[in-house]
Subunit: 340 residues, 2 copies
Amino acid sequence: MTLRDIHVTMAHGGGGKAMRDLIDEVFTAVFQPPGSEDQARLTNDALSEPGARLAFTTDSFVVTPLEFPGGDIGKLAICGTVNDLAVGGARPLWLSAAFVIEEGCEIALLRRIVATMAEEAAKAGLRIVTGDTKVVERGKGDGVFITTAGIGVIPPGIDIGAAKIRPGDAVIVNGVLGDHGATILAARGDLALSADLVSDCAGLGHLMQAALAAAPGISAARDCTRGGLASALNEMAAEANVTVELEEARLPLRPEVVGMCEILGLDPLYLANEGRLVLFCPADQADAALAAMRALPEGAGATIIGHTLERCGAPVTLRTAFGGARIVDMLIGEQLPRIC
Amino acid sequence: MTLRDIHVTMAHGGGGKAMRDLIDEVFTAVFQPPGSEDQARLTNDALSEPGARLAFTTDSFVVTPLEFPGGDIGKLAICGTVNDLAVGGARPLWLSAAFVIEEGCEIALLRRIVATMAEEAAKAGLRIVTGDTKVVERGKGDGVFITTAGIGVIPPGIDIGAAKIRPGDAVIVNGVLGDHGATILAARGDLALSADLVSDCAGLGHLMQAALAAAPGISAARDCTRGGLASALNEMAAEANVTVELEEARLPLRPEVVGMCEILGLDPLYLANEGRLVLFCPADQADAALAAMRALPEGAGATIIGHTLERCGAPVTLRTAFGGARIVDMLIGEQLPRIC
């Protein structure tokens, strides 16, 4: 135990002994990466199976506040990258984690973040195998930013993606929408909102594997993060050249979230989620997919919210409870900054 | 062409149309990643060769200034990750790139950075296959931070690392030391130094492959970034339990760099390099390694700077030009913040 500092200083990013102590005690003691070189060296039999493909993805996380009901930036950083792998049908294997820390950041906060990262990685069944730490001066960052990159393996025979969506597919989500966005908004405390909301942040690797096993005809899936369900559906429908018809009455929304959105003039379809995916599958496999998803805690609220049609007009439309229809467009401008 | 903005705004990070335009026009138009999913899906025959291993590494880059003689943050971000792969004997294959952009950052600057990234990736023979963009408010970042992660393949039979270093190994560097650190220092302009210095920033993948082919007994290599040659050697010597004896007269140093260090009370052995590696190999293969390195521009200045002994006292010592000896310790505290 040689790290006696309470706060991160510029010396912790300088390449010398202080940096080595910070990395050893706060990061590698918890993550326990293999070997001691700057690169992890890895093998996995699934990767050399004929027809298997490697999946590779990255995300930076800049959420504010760093800790919020239901998670922290570390949990987001693991789940976000796990989910980007999972929705492509990949089994997550390994993660990298790079930290840009603002001078003055509390080391105790870093330790808490690292602990949640290790916990989420274990839940997802993967390892954090390599990393990096940089320090920037006070006022040139904001606490800590984390960038994770993930490697997964797509087994032979799995080939899903927006281009595979067909007219007649059922559109399924795994639970209530917008909790993450609403929670962050409430946690910022600059609104007189006190809601008992908790972020939906969760890893969806096991859920996606279960859905694929039960409904092998799944055509595509995506996690509904920044820009919410509406943005994910618009991108996917545009690529598949179909129209997604949502039914308002079927959208799973908490009254607290709907209420908050009404007060603030927001639309819950654009609120960020960090543990929600939207999935397309042939109508005759929808029940099987739903049953498999509902058997897992992160899919307990799984439900069909609409279906796809041959493209007619806009990529995404909503049938309202009153029988009308409206276009659900891409988000224009910003809704909530730094939500993930 | 729908992106008419001059500067990045918070909307460019919001998950909607502005973000899509920024990503499409500034990033994916240049990087041309495969497919349109959030994850890249990749195959490479070398990865499924029996005995091959996957190498995985990441680094964040926070250098200031963002552009400097000899490169910019984008060139650093590619070369840094390529070099972390290369020094382990891996052939770099794929890179991810994640950007944390400060509100107000000039889009023209981003375009220049992205162009140098594409150019360096092509030189290194690899592809930037996936990425991410986040935007933070003015005063919560500093222009742009870039995090790259890299995947490479270590061919069967290659297994190098600090633990393999043996007493009697020759210690080789590929050129003059400290140019990157000195260049950044001069480029900050807060010193009345005007030196015609250029960063050594360069990808070392081809150099490392050539050295390994010529001298298969190479035991270990490392790139000498933050903390400089001295820190890299201390870490490696400690792990191998040997003493590295450097000869001062053989250290390749530019007079301008030595002069700047004398004025500022710095030691060039601790200055950061971004295109320099230190390599250990059996003495009887040193000439072959040198010849192979000198045949490439990035190895033109390759030279032997010392050798290893059974551990006697400190991990790294320096025989001075006057016949004395001094200990070369780990860097204590910080030398130059945000050098990479």
